[in-house]
Amino acid sequence: MISDDTVNRTGEHEREAAPRLSRLFALAAVLALAGLADAVYLTVEHLTGHSVRCTVTNGCSEVLSSQYATIGGYPLAFFGAVAYFTAFSLATLAAFGSERAGKLFAVLVALMFATSLWLFYLQAFVLHAFCQYCLLSAAITTLLVVIVVVRRATKK
Protein backbone atom coordinates (compact mmCIF):
# COMPACT_ATOMS: atom_id res chain seq x y z
CA MET A 1 0.00 0.00 0.00
CA ILE A 2 2.73 2.35 1.05
CA SER A 3 4.69 1.32 -1.96
CA ASP A 4 1.73 2.08 -4.25
CA ASP A 5 1.32 5.51 -2.65
CA THR A 6 4.98 6.25 -3.26
CA VAL A 7 4.71 5.16 -6.83
CA ASN A 8 1.59 7.28 -7.28
CA ARG A 9 3.14 10.34 -5.66
CA THR A 10 6.30 9.92 -7.65
CA GLY A 11 4.30 9.38 -10.78
CA GLU A 12 2.24 12.53 -10.18
CA HIS A 13 5.34 14.49 -9.32
CA GLU A 14 7.01 13.43 -12.55
CA ARG A 15 3.96 14.17 -14.65
CA GLU A 16 3.74 17.66 -13.20
CA ALA A 17 7.45 18.32 -13.26
CA ALA A 18 8.25 16.97 -16.68
CA PRO A 19 6.74 19.81 -18.76
CA ARG A 20 8.42 22.39 -16.49
CA LEU A 21 11.82 20.80 -17.03
CA SER A 22 11.25 20.84 -20.75
CA ARG A 23 10.27 24.49 -20.61
CA LEU A 24 13.45 25.28 -18.68
CA PHE A 25 15.57 23.58 -21.30
CA ALA A 26 13.60 25.30 -24.06
CA LEU A 27 14.35 28.64 -22.37
CA ALA A 28 18.01 27.62 -22.14
CA ALA A 29 18.00 26.83 -25.86
CA VAL A 30 16.59 30.28 -26.66
CA LEU A 31 19.24 31.93 -24.46
CA ALA A 32 21.98 29.87 -26.09
CA LEU A 33 20.64 31.02 -29.45
CA ALA A 34 21.07 34.67 -28.36
CA GLY A 35 24.61 33.85 -27.22
CA LEU A 36 25.29 32.17 -30.56
CA ALA A 37 24.14 35.27 -32.46
CA ASP A 38 26.34 37.47 -30.26
CA ALA A 39 29.39 35.24 -30.76
CA VAL A 40 28.84 34.90 -34.53
CA TYR A 41 28.62 38.69 -34.82
CA LEU A 42 31.87 39.15 -32.90
CA THR A 43 33.62 36.44 -34.92
CA VAL A 44 32.62 38.07 -38.19
CA GLU A 45 33.62 41.52 -36.92
CA HIS A 46 36.98 40.13 -35.87
CA LEU A 47 37.60 38.52 -39.24
CA THR A 48 36.33 41.30 -41.45
CA GLY A 49 35.42 44.26 -39.39
CA HIS A 50 37.03 47.25 -37.90
CA SER A 51 36.85 48.59 -34.40
CA VAL A 52 33.53 47.31 -33.07
CA ARG A 53 31.43 50.24 -31.95
CA CYS A 54 30.21 50.15 -28.37
CA THR A 55 26.90 51.86 -27.68
CA VAL A 56 26.62 51.14 -23.96
CA THR A 57 30.19 50.68 -22.70
CA ASN A 58 33.26 52.26 -24.22
CA GLY A 59 35.96 49.63 -24.39
CA CYS A 60 35.02 47.37 -27.28
CA SER A 61 38.06 48.00 -29.43
CA GLU A 62 40.44 47.77 -26.45
CA VAL A 63 38.99 44.41 -25.41
CA LEU A 64 38.48 42.93 -28.86
CA SER A 65 41.91 43.87 -30.14
CA SER A 66 43.73 42.75 -27.00
CA GLN A 67 46.01 39.73 -26.87
CA TYR A 68 43.26 37.84 -25.00
CA ALA A 69 40.82 38.13 -27.91
CA THR A 70 42.50 35.36 -29.88
CA ILE A 71 43.69 31.83 -29.19
CA GLY A 72 46.25 30.45 -31.61
CA GLY A 73 45.30 33.10 -34.14
CA TYR A 74 41.59 32.26 -33.97
CA PRO A 75 39.15 34.74 -32.49
CA LEU A 76 37.97 33.77 -29.03
CA ALA A 77 34.44 34.60 -30.19
CA PHE A 78 34.63 31.68 -32.63
CA PHE A 79 35.14 29.26 -29.74
CA GLY A 80 32.26 31.03 -28.00
CA ALA A 81 30.07 30.42 -31.03
CA VAL A 82 30.97 26.71 -31.01
CA ALA A 83 30.22 26.53 -27.28
CA TYR A 84 26.86 28.27 -27.65
CA PHE A 85 25.88 26.08 -30.57
CA THR A 86 26.77 22.97 -28.55
CA ALA A 87 24.82 24.35 -25.58
CA PHE A 88 21.84 25.04 -27.85
CA SER A 89 21.96 21.52 -29.26
CA LEU A 90 22.19 19.88 -25.85
CA ALA A 91 19.42 22.08 -24.42
CA THR A 92 17.18 21.23 -27.38
CA LEU A 93 17.81 17.50 -26.98
CA ALA A 94 17.22 17.80 -23.23
CA ALA A 95 14.00 19.73 -23.83
CA PHE A 96 12.82 16.73 -25.83
CA GLY A 97 13.60 14.40 -22.97
CA SER A 98 17.24 13.33 -23.27
CA GLU A 99 18.64 12.90 -19.74
CA ARG A 100 22.20 12.49 -20.99
CA ALA A 101 22.03 15.72 -22.98
CA GLY A 102 20.80 17.48 -19.84
CA LYS A 103 23.82 16.27 -17.87
CA LEU A 104 26.27 17.24 -20.61
CA PHE A 105 24.55 20.62 -20.85
CA ALA A 106 25.21 21.23 -17.13
CA VAL A 107 28.89 20.35 -17.52
CA LEU A 108 29.28 22.58 -20.59
CA VAL A 109 27.52 25.51 -18.90
CA ALA A 110 29.83 25.16 -15.89
CA LEU A 111 32.87 25.37 -18.19
CA MET A 112 31.41 28.34 -20.04
CA PHE A 113 30.66 30.10 -16.77
CA ALA A 114 34.24 29.58 -15.55
CA THR A 115 35.53 31.01 -18.83
CA SER A 116 33.16 33.98 -18.54
CA LEU A 117 34.41 34.70 -15.02
CA TRP A 118 38.00 34.68 -16.28
CA LEU A 119 37.15 37.00 -19.17
CA PHE A 120 35.26 39.33 -16.85
CA TYR A 121 38.31 39.45 -14.58
CA LEU A 122 40.51 40.33 -17.58
CA GLN A 123 38.19 43.16 -18.61
CA ALA A 124 37.85 44.57 -15.10
CA PHE A 125 41.37 44.23 -13.73
CA VAL A 126 43.79 43.77 -16.63
CA LEU A 127 42.36 45.70 -19.58
CA HIS A 128 40.29 48.17 -17.53
CA ALA A 129 37.81 48.25 -20.38
CA PHE A 130 34.46 46.57 -20.93
CA CYS A 131 33.00 45.29 -24.16
CA GLN A 132 29.21 45.22 -24.13
CA TYR A 133 29.03 42.14 -26.36
CA CYS A 134 31.31 40.25 -23.97
CA LEU A 135 29.20 41.37 -21.01
CA LEU A 136 26.05 40.19 -22.82
CA SER A 137 27.68 36.80 -23.33
CA ALA A 138 28.62 36.65 -19.65
CA ALA A 139 25.05 37.54 -18.68
CA ILE A 140 23.64 34.81 -20.92
CA THR A 141 26.03 32.24 -19.47
CA THR A 142 25.05 33.32 -15.96
CA LEU A 143 21.36 32.83 -16.82
CA LEU A 144 22.18 29.38 -18.18
CA VAL A 145 23.84 28.57 -14.86
CA VAL A 146 20.69 29.76 -13.05
CA ILE A 147 18.62 27.44 -15.24
CA VAL A 148 20.89 24.50 -14.47
CA VAL A 149 20.66 25.24 -10.72
CA VAL A 150 16.86 25.66 -10.82
CA ARG A 151 16.53 22.43 -12.74
CA ARG A 152 18.63 20.58 -10.17
CA ALA A 153 16.65 22.06 -7.31
CA THR A 154 13.35 21.22 -8.98
CA LYS A 155 14.49 17.70 -9.72
CA LYS A 156 15.25 17.04 -6.04
Binding site: L33, L36, A37, V40, Y41, T43, V44, L47, T48, G49, H50, S51, V52, R53, C54, N58, C60, S61, E62, S65, S66, A81, F85, F88, S89, T92, L93, A95, F96, S98, H128
Partner: protein, 244 residues
Amino acid sequence: MRRKLPIIIIIGVLIVALAGGALLMRPSETTTRPNLAQMPPTTTAPTATASPNPQATVVPRPAAASNIAPITHLRGRNDAPLLIEEYGDFQCPPCGSLHPILKRIEGEYATQVRVAFHHFPLREMHKNAGEAARAAEAAAVQGKFWQMHDMLFEKQSEWKDAAPARPLFLGYARTLGLDLPKFTQDIDSTTVSNRVMTDEQGGTARGVTGTPTVFLNGREVPFAIATSYDKLRAVIESELAVKK
Protein backbone atom coordinates in the same frame (compact mmCIF):
# COMPACT_ATOMS: atom_id res chain seq x y z
CA MET B 1 8.61 12.73 -36.31
CA ARG B 2 8.86 13.95 -32.68
CA ARG B 3 12.10 11.99 -32.29
CA LYS B 4 13.58 13.69 -35.31
CA LEU B 5 12.31 17.18 -34.46
CA PRO B 6 15.23 18.22 -32.19
CA ILE B 7 17.74 17.09 -34.81
CA ILE B 8 15.86 19.07 -37.47
CA ILE B 9 15.86 22.16 -35.21
CA ILE B 10 19.59 21.81 -34.47
CA ILE B 11 20.50 21.39 -38.13
CA GLY B 12 18.23 24.32 -39.01
CA VAL B 13 19.96 26.57 -36.47
CA LEU B 14 23.37 25.46 -37.71
CA ILE B 15 22.43 26.35 -41.29
CA VAL B 16 21.00 29.72 -40.23
CA ALA B 17 24.12 30.51 -38.13
CA LEU B 18 26.49 29.59 -40.97
CA ALA B 19 24.42 31.46 -43.56
CA GLY B 20 24.13 34.51 -41.29
CA GLY B 21 27.86 34.49 -40.67
CA ALA B 22 28.60 34.11 -44.38
CA LEU B 23 26.20 36.96 -45.20
CA LEU B 24 27.92 39.25 -42.69
CA MET B 25 31.32 38.16 -43.98
CA ARG B 26 30.44 39.25 -47.51
CA PRO B 27 32.43 42.34 -48.34
CA SER B 28 30.55 45.45 -49.24
CA GLU B 29 29.74 46.22 -52.88
CA THR B 30 32.79 48.44 -53.21
CA THR B 31 35.13 45.65 -52.21
CA THR B 32 33.54 42.90 -54.26
CA ARG B 33 33.98 44.79 -57.48
CA PRO B 34 37.66 45.57 -57.86
CA ASN B 35 37.01 48.29 -60.38
CA LEU B 36 39.81 50.79 -60.52
CA ALA B 37 37.53 53.23 -62.32
CA GLN B 38 35.69 53.57 -59.03
CA MET B 39 38.72 54.72 -57.14
CA PRO B 40 38.75 58.27 -55.92
CA PRO B 41 41.34 59.68 -58.28
CA THR B 42 44.75 60.63 -57.07
CA THR B 43 44.03 63.99 -58.67
CA THR B 44 42.36 64.75 -55.37
CA ALA B 45 45.89 65.26 -54.09
CA PRO B 46 47.20 68.79 -54.40
CA THR B 47 47.75 69.40 -58.09
CA ALA B 48 51.33 70.46 -57.48
CA THR B 49 52.10 66.88 -56.54
CA ALA B 50 50.00 65.22 -59.22
CA SER B 51 51.36 61.88 -60.26
CA PRO B 52 53.00 61.64 -63.67
CA ASN B 53 51.30 58.28 -64.09
CA PRO B 54 48.65 59.08 -66.74
CA GLN B 55 46.44 56.19 -65.65
CA ALA B 56 46.19 57.67 -62.21
CA THR B 57 45.26 61.14 -63.32
CA VAL B 58 42.71 60.50 -66.04
CA VAL B 59 40.26 58.56 -63.92
CA PRO B 60 37.23 60.77 -63.35
CA ARG B 61 35.84 61.13 -59.87
CA PRO B 62 32.66 59.07 -59.61
CA ALA B 63 29.58 61.18 -59.10
CA ALA B 64 28.72 59.39 -55.87
CA ALA B 65 32.07 60.33 -54.44
CA SER B 66 31.95 64.01 -55.32
CA ASN B 67 31.99 65.01 -51.68
CA ILE B 68 35.16 63.08 -50.83
CA ALA B 69 37.65 65.37 -49.17
CA PRO B 70 40.93 66.00 -50.95
CA ILE B 71 43.96 64.19 -49.69
CA THR B 72 45.72 66.56 -47.34
CA HIS B 73 48.35 64.37 -45.77
CA LEU B 74 50.31 62.33 -48.25
CA ARG B 75 53.86 61.02 -48.13
CA GLY B 76 55.92 59.12 -50.65
CA ARG B 77 57.11 59.68 -54.19
CA ASN B 78 54.79 61.52 -56.54
CA ASP B 79 55.34 58.95 -59.28
CA ALA B 80 54.53 55.96 -57.08
CA PRO B 81 51.86 53.88 -58.81
CA LEU B 82 50.10 52.79 -55.63
CA LEU B 83 48.27 54.92 -53.10
CA ILE B 84 47.38 53.55 -49.69
CA GLU B 85 44.85 55.65 -47.81
CA GLU B 86 44.11 55.08 -44.16
CA TYR B 87 41.07 56.37 -42.34
CA GLY B 88 42.40 56.27 -38.83
CA ASP B 89 41.83 57.15 -35.22
CA PHE B 90 45.00 57.80 -33.22
CA GLN B 91 43.50 56.14 -30.15
CA CYS B 92 42.18 53.00 -31.83
CA PRO B 93 44.37 50.00 -30.93
CA PRO B 94 44.13 48.29 -34.35
CA CYS B 95 45.26 51.59 -35.94
CA GLY B 96 48.22 51.52 -33.57
CA SER B 97 48.99 47.99 -34.77
CA LEU B 98 48.63 49.01 -38.41
CA HIS B 99 51.12 51.88 -38.01
CA PRO B 100 54.33 49.78 -37.96
CA ILE B 101 52.97 47.65 -40.81
CA LEU B 102 52.47 50.70 -43.02
CA LYS B 103 55.86 52.10 -42.02
CA ARG B 104 57.46 48.83 -43.04
CA ILE B 105 55.56 48.82 -46.34
CA GLU B 106 56.61 52.44 -46.97
CA GLY B 107 60.23 51.52 -46.38
CA GLU B 108 60.11 48.46 -48.54
CA TYR B 109 58.16 50.01 -51.42
CA ALA B 110 59.56 53.52 -51.18
CA THR B 111 59.35 54.11 -54.92
CA GLN B 112 56.07 52.34 -55.50
CA VAL B 113 53.76 53.24 -52.65
CA ARG B 114 52.45 56.52 -51.31
CA VAL B 115 50.56 56.70 -48.04
CA ALA B 116 47.78 59.10 -47.14
CA PHE B 117 46.11 59.60 -43.79
CA HIS B 118 42.55 60.80 -43.18
CA HIS B 119 41.17 61.50 -39.73
CA PHE B 120 38.25 59.40 -38.55
CA PRO B 121 38.23 59.77 -34.76
CA LEU B 122 35.64 57.55 -33.05
CA ARG B 123 34.95 60.05 -30.28
CA GLU B 124 32.18 58.13 -28.58
CA MET B 125 34.55 55.20 -28.04
CA HIS B 126 37.84 56.99 -27.59
CA LYS B 127 37.75 60.04 -25.35
CA ASN B 128 41.11 61.44 -26.48
CA ALA B 129 40.80 60.64 -30.18
CA GLY B 130 39.34 63.98 -31.21
CA GLU B 131 42.00 65.97 -29.39
CA ALA B 132 44.74 63.74 -30.80
CA ALA B 133 43.48 64.39 -34.33
CA ARG B 134 43.51 68.12 -33.61
CA ALA B 135 47.03 67.84 -32.16
CA ALA B 136 48.21 66.26 -35.42
CA GLU B 137 46.50 69.02 -37.41
CA ALA B 138 47.97 71.71 -35.17
CA ALA B 139 51.39 70.19 -35.89
CA ALA B 140 50.48 70.18 -39.59
CA VAL B 141 50.04 73.95 -39.43
CA GLN B 142 53.76 74.07 -38.61
CA GLY B 143 54.62 71.50 -41.26
CA LYS B 144 55.07 68.53 -38.92
CA PHE B 145 51.93 66.47 -39.41
CA TRP B 146 53.69 63.18 -40.11
CA GLN B 147 56.12 63.59 -37.24
CA MET B 148 53.20 64.11 -34.84
CA HIS B 149 51.23 61.32 -36.56
CA ASP B 150 54.07 58.87 -35.93
CA MET B 151 54.60 60.05 -32.38
CA LEU B 152 50.90 59.75 -31.49
CA PHE B 153 50.77 56.18 -32.74
CA GLU B 154 54.07 55.18 -31.18
CA LYS B 155 53.10 56.63 -27.81
CA GLN B 156 49.45 55.62 -27.98
CA SER B 157 49.57 53.59 -24.77
CA GLU B 158 51.01 56.58 -22.93
CA TRP B 159 48.21 59.05 -23.69
CA LYS B 160 45.13 56.99 -24.56
CA ASP B 161 43.81 56.86 -20.99
CA ALA B 162 45.29 60.17 -19.84
CA ALA B 163 42.86 62.69 -18.38
CA PRO B 164 43.67 65.25 -19.56
CA ALA B 165 45.86 64.24 -22.47
CA ARG B 166 46.73 67.82 -23.41
CA PRO B 167 49.94 68.03 -21.32
CA LEU B 168 51.28 64.93 -23.08
CA PHE B 169 50.42 66.36 -26.52
CA LEU B 170 52.21 69.57 -25.55
CA GLY B 171 55.21 67.47 -24.53
CA TYR B 172 55.24 65.80 -27.96
CA ALA B 173 54.98 69.20 -29.62
CA ARG B 174 57.95 70.36 -27.57
CA THR B 175 59.94 67.27 -28.55
CA LEU B 176 59.20 67.99 -32.22
CA GLY B 177 60.43 71.54 -31.79
CA LEU B 178 57.08 73.16 -32.48
CA ASP B 179 56.20 76.69 -31.51
CA LEU B 180 54.21 75.85 -28.35
CA PRO B 181 52.06 79.00 -28.05
CA LYS B 182 51.03 78.61 -31.68
CA PHE B 183 50.41 74.88 -31.24
CA THR B 184 48.23 75.59 -28.20
CA GLN B 185 46.29 78.19 -30.14
CA ASP B 186 45.86 76.00 -33.22
CA ILE B 187 44.77 72.86 -31.41
CA ASP B 188 41.59 74.65 -30.30
CA SER B 189 41.08 76.62 -33.49
CA THR B 190 38.01 76.28 -35.67
CA THR B 191 40.22 75.84 -38.73
CA VAL B 192 41.85 72.75 -37.26
CA SER B 193 38.50 71.33 -36.07
CA ASN B 194 37.02 71.88 -39.52
CA ARG B 195 39.99 70.14 -41.12
CA VAL B 196 39.36 67.02 -39.01
CA MET B 197 35.64 67.21 -39.67
CA THR B 198 36.18 67.46 -43.43
CA ASP B 199 38.13 64.19 -43.31
CA GLU B 200 35.38 62.53 -41.29
CA GLN B 201 32.70 63.66 -43.71
CA GLY B 202 34.79 62.40 -46.62
CA GLY B 203 35.16 59.04 -44.89
CA THR B 204 31.46 58.79 -44.22
CA ALA B 205 30.79 59.58 -47.89
CA ARG B 206 33.04 56.66 -48.83
CA GLY B 207 31.22 54.30 -46.51
CA VAL B 208 33.79 54.27 -43.73
CA THR B 209 32.21 53.17 -40.45
CA GLY B 210 35.16 52.03 -38.36
CA THR B 211 38.89 52.25 -38.07
CA PRO B 212 41.27 51.50 -39.52
CA THR B 213 39.73 51.45 -42.98
CA VAL B 214 42.35 51.13 -45.69
CA PHE B 215 41.98 51.84 -49.39
CA LEU B 216 44.49 50.73 -51.98
CA ASN B 217 44.13 52.79 -55.14
CA GLY B 218 40.58 53.53 -54.13
CA ARG B 219 39.49 50.01 -53.32
CA GLU B 220 38.80 49.08 -49.74
CA VAL B 221 41.20 46.48 -48.41
CA PRO B 222 39.47 44.08 -45.98
CA PHE B 223 40.50 44.66 -42.38
CA ALA B 224 42.01 41.18 -41.97
CA ILE B 225 44.29 41.81 -44.94
CA ALA B 226 45.20 45.41 -44.14
CA THR B 227 46.30 44.54 -40.62
CA SER B 228 48.55 41.66 -41.66
CA TYR B 229 51.92 42.61 -43.09
CA ASP B 230 52.21 39.46 -45.21
CA LYS B 231 48.69 39.71 -46.62
CA LEU B 232 48.94 43.42 -47.34
CA ARG B 233 52.29 42.87 -49.03
CA ALA B 234 50.76 40.13 -51.19
CA VAL B 235 47.96 42.49 -52.28
CA ILE B 236 50.51 45.19 -53.10
CA GLU B 237 52.58 42.72 -55.12
CA SER B 238 49.57 41.63 -57.15
CA GLU B 239 48.55 45.26 -57.71
CA LEU B 240 52.07 46.10 -58.88
CA ALA B 241 52.02 43.10 -61.22
CA VAL B 242 48.84 44.48 -62.80
CA LYS B 243 50.46 47.90 -63.21
CA LYS B 244 53.46 46.48 -65.06
